[in-house]
Structure formats: C-alpha cells, structure tokens
Amino acid sequence: MTLSVTGLRVSSLVRDVSFEIGAGARVGLIGESGSGKSLTALAIMGLLPDELHASGSVRLNGHELLGSSEKDLSRRRGDELAMVFQEPMTALNPAMRVGRQVTEPGRIHGRRRSAEELLDAVGLPGTARAYPHQLSGGQRQRVVLAMALANEPSLLICDEPTTALDVTVQAQILSLIKTSLPAESALLFITHDLAVVASVCERVLVMLDGEIVEAGSTREVLTSPKHEYTRKLLDASDLEARR
C-alpha cells in the first residue's frame, strides 16, 4: 500500500478516519465544506496548524509519518508526497519567477530538471521568466501542478484544485492531472464536485462531520448510495443533468 491511514483523529474535527490507497489508485474524498476533508489532507502532509494535533497512524510506503520529525517530513514532502492547493492565485510566491519556483522542489531533493522541461510538460512553454501575476488562474494552477509533479511523487494530494477555476479551465486541469500523473503514483483527490470525482476517481470516500460514512467504487457509490447523506449529496448535485 502506498498510503494507509488508520484511526486518524485531529482534535475532535476528524474522527477515526481509516483508508488505504494503493500504488496507481485514484481515490476521491468528497463531502461538504467543514467536513474535515482538508484537515485530513493537511494531517497526512504534517502541515496542520500548531494548535491542532493529529493522532492515529499515517503510513507512506511503510514509513510512519505522524510524529516524525519536521526534518524527516520535509525530506519526504515535495519528493514522495506532494500537494496541489485550491487557490492558484495565492499558492505561488508573487516575488519569484515561475521558472525558479518550479525547479525548487528538484533543487531541494537533488534532482535537477530544467524549468522549460517541467513547464513544457504542463503545456506552458516559454513562461519560465514570467512572474505569477502575469499568468491566468488556470496557468498558475498548471505551474502549481508542475511543482507538485516535479519529483514524480508516490502520493499526490489535490485539495479542490479546480474549485477556483471556470468550467472550461477545470476540464483542462483535470485532464492534465490524469495524463501527467505517473501511472504508479497514488492520488487523493479532495472535492465537493461529484462530476469531478466521477471523471477522475475509481474509488470514493464520503466524509461527513469528520467521519467517513461511506466508501466504495465510484460507480457503486454514485449509482446506489447506501448512506442517507450520500443520497442527499447526489440529489443536491446536478450530476444526472450533466450526463
């Protein structure tokens, strides 16, 4: 298993969350705002705010991440595990050229790839010397994705990567994630958009008030939901209308 989370608890906001993601698996984590999706992601990354404490177990490729030293964690972050954030407008340093930001994870982890190569891979040739404010939201999210994928992580966490983008750009970013993620990499995709889950993920976890209430293959969960809440979520979405 690439990632196995057992009995994860973050204060009282996330309770007894357990799931596993194997190599190459694409798993969706859905739920409404405040259900604890992002906290789960931050707990896996070891990036929880100081006042929150996580307990339980998070193992990545057999290594326990919870309680690891900051030094050990920062060696793994950006290398074995990477993350794409929701808001591309603020996820890039405004005072640093895009090319430099993209190559930074490689420099830190001792794998040098040129900025052009990395930016080409996400369809942004010739932008290495641009500053983030000169790029559109979709372009910035591509840069963020290029940074996350620079070291071919074994686990990529995407925290609502398309929520802040318009529908056409959303589709581009989604297909980019699908095509550029190495086949053996695991993906944890957080969203509240069921249509996005349907197009990206094979398995899906449904989260409500800090607990996972339903898990299963995407088809199963979306066609014959077992939990009351999942049914409500499906009713509230326009998934049927779009099909």
């Binding site: 920062s74 950006g78 954030f85 603020t90 890039l92 005072a95 640093m96 830190i108 404010h133």
Partner: protein, 268 residues
C-alpha cells in the same frame, strides 16, 4: 520610475559631494578667517561664510561624509540585526515570538537620544558611538515591521505550498518571506535614515555627536540659531542639504520598492 531617478540624482549629489571632498574643496572647511566673516551668497564663496569666516560650501561637502556615514552605520545596524530578529519572531512558535517582541518593546521604551548619551558617557563621545546607539535604538522598529510582514506572508498559501514542497524553514525565510517584505523594509530604512541624520544633529548640539571642528550638517544648523534673524542663510544652507539627502533617500527607497516588487514594477 520617476521616484527612482529623482531619488537617485539627489542621493548621487550627496555621494558626489562626499567623495569629491576627499580630493578637493573650494576652501579649507575648518580654516577660521576673521576678515571674511558672514559673507553672503555669491562672491568668492558660493554659499558665503559663517561667523568664523569658514566657507559654507566646503563645510557642506565634508559634512556630506558624516551624513552618509551616519545613515549607513545606524540604518545598517538596525536593519541587519532587526530584520532577522523580526523574521525569526514571526516564524517561530508563538511563545518564542512573543518573548522576542517583549524584549523588543523593552528596547523601544528606551529613548534613542538617552541611549546615545549613555553610550557617549561610557565609550567616549564621537560620531560612531552615537550612531551605534541610534542604530541599536532603531532595531525594534525593524524587528516590528519585519515580524508583522512575516506573519502576513506565513499565513499565505504559497508558504504552505513551499512547506508541502519540502522547503526548510531557512529557505522559506530567505526565499519566500524576505523578498515579500523587502518593500516594507526599504521604506522603513529610508525613514530611519532621516531620523538618524536628525538625531546626529541633535547629538552634535549636545556635544555627544560629531566633535568640532569636523563639519556636520546637524551642527551647522544648530550653530546658525543665534544668528537666525540676521543671517537666515546659515540655517538655510545646511537645512536644504539635510532636506535634499532625506528626500533623496525617501524617493530612492520608494522607487526601489516599486522596482523590486514585480506586481508594482509592471505598472511603473
């Protein structure tokens, strides 16, 4: 861009005067000449002479050295110590940050001039001692500005993204925090520079700054007061010189900030 050019020209003028004074001045700036006391503008002395017959232009030129020296030492000390301290306070756990800032408040509560006078009494009064004291007294303002900027930057998503990318704290401080607060620091530096020049003037007047006969703009200004009503020229010349230097550094600071911030650079 206009700020940068005008600031650069004004500061350049001060630097030029200071550098030139090492090789050439119209007259010996400290030579007393009773026969040519209180000459007006024009004539053999461009800016005239003071009550001892010393040439004002020569004094201004040599005084420019003191001014630059003062600015570089005082602002340098404050920025080099205060900035890392502020960033440290902004990035470390809350208790450590609070501790650094409370110590900071302690220094801030101590009047700069009083500290300079104490230093002068202990280590002997001269320009360097005075400016080290002013520099130390200015550390808290840099630390404060740096910390507030750091807290703001640390709460942004790109710092979280940088941490998610495995950057160490030092890398984040140097590569992500510092460039994003440099605008604040430059403005603070140009304000502190003006304060340091004025403090030097005050300290020279009290006898704790530049010792006579070394010319200093601040002391020239102070010496002019007894003749202010009959010879306003004596106050005007060093006053304008101080104004030019302070304005120059302020404009230069503003211009540099606009230049260094890529979001603003696009607009100028």
């Amino acid at each position: 861009m206009r700020n940068l050019v005008i600031g650069g020209v004004l500061v350049g003028l001060v630097v030029l005067a200071a550098v030139l004074s090492f090789f050439w001045t119209p007259f010996d700036p400290v030579r007393v000449d009773a026969a040519h006391r209180l000459l007006g503008f024009g004539g053999s002395n461009l800016f005239g002479t003071d009550k001892f017959g010393r040439d004002l232009l020569s004094q201004i030129m040599v005084g420019a050295r003191t001014t630059l020296y003062v600015g570089v030492v005082a602002v340098g000390i404050a920025a080099v110590i205060g900035t890392p301290l502020g960033i440290l306070a902004g990035m470390s756990p809350r208790w450590l940050g609070e501790f650094v800032m409370r110590v900071n408040d302690l220094v801030l509560a101590f009047p700069a001039l009083l500290l300079a006078i104490m230093f002068g009494a202990v280590f002997g009064a001269d320009t360097l001692t005075a400016m080290v004291a002013i520099g130390i007294a200015t550390i808290p303002s840099f630390a404060r500005i740096a910390r507030s900027g750091t807290l703001q930057v640390m709460s942004t998503e790109f710092v979280l993204a940088a941490r998610a990318g495995g950057r160490s704290r030092l890398t984040i401080a140097v590569r992500h925090v510092l460039p994003n607060i440099s605008g604040l620091l430059i403005v603070q530096a140009s304000v502190s520079f003006a304060i340091a020049v004025l403090a030097e003037a005050a300290l020279s007047f009290l006898g704790f700054g530049t010792r006579p006969p070394t010319p200093s703009w601040g002391r020239m200004l102070q010496e002019s007061q007894e003749l202010l009503t009959v010879q306003p020229r004596l106050a005007l010349v060093p006053g304008i010189a101080i104004a030019v230097a302070v304005l120059g550094f302020n404009l230069l600071g503003d211009g540099l900030r606009d230049r260094l911030d890529p979001r603003l650079a696009a607009r100028v």
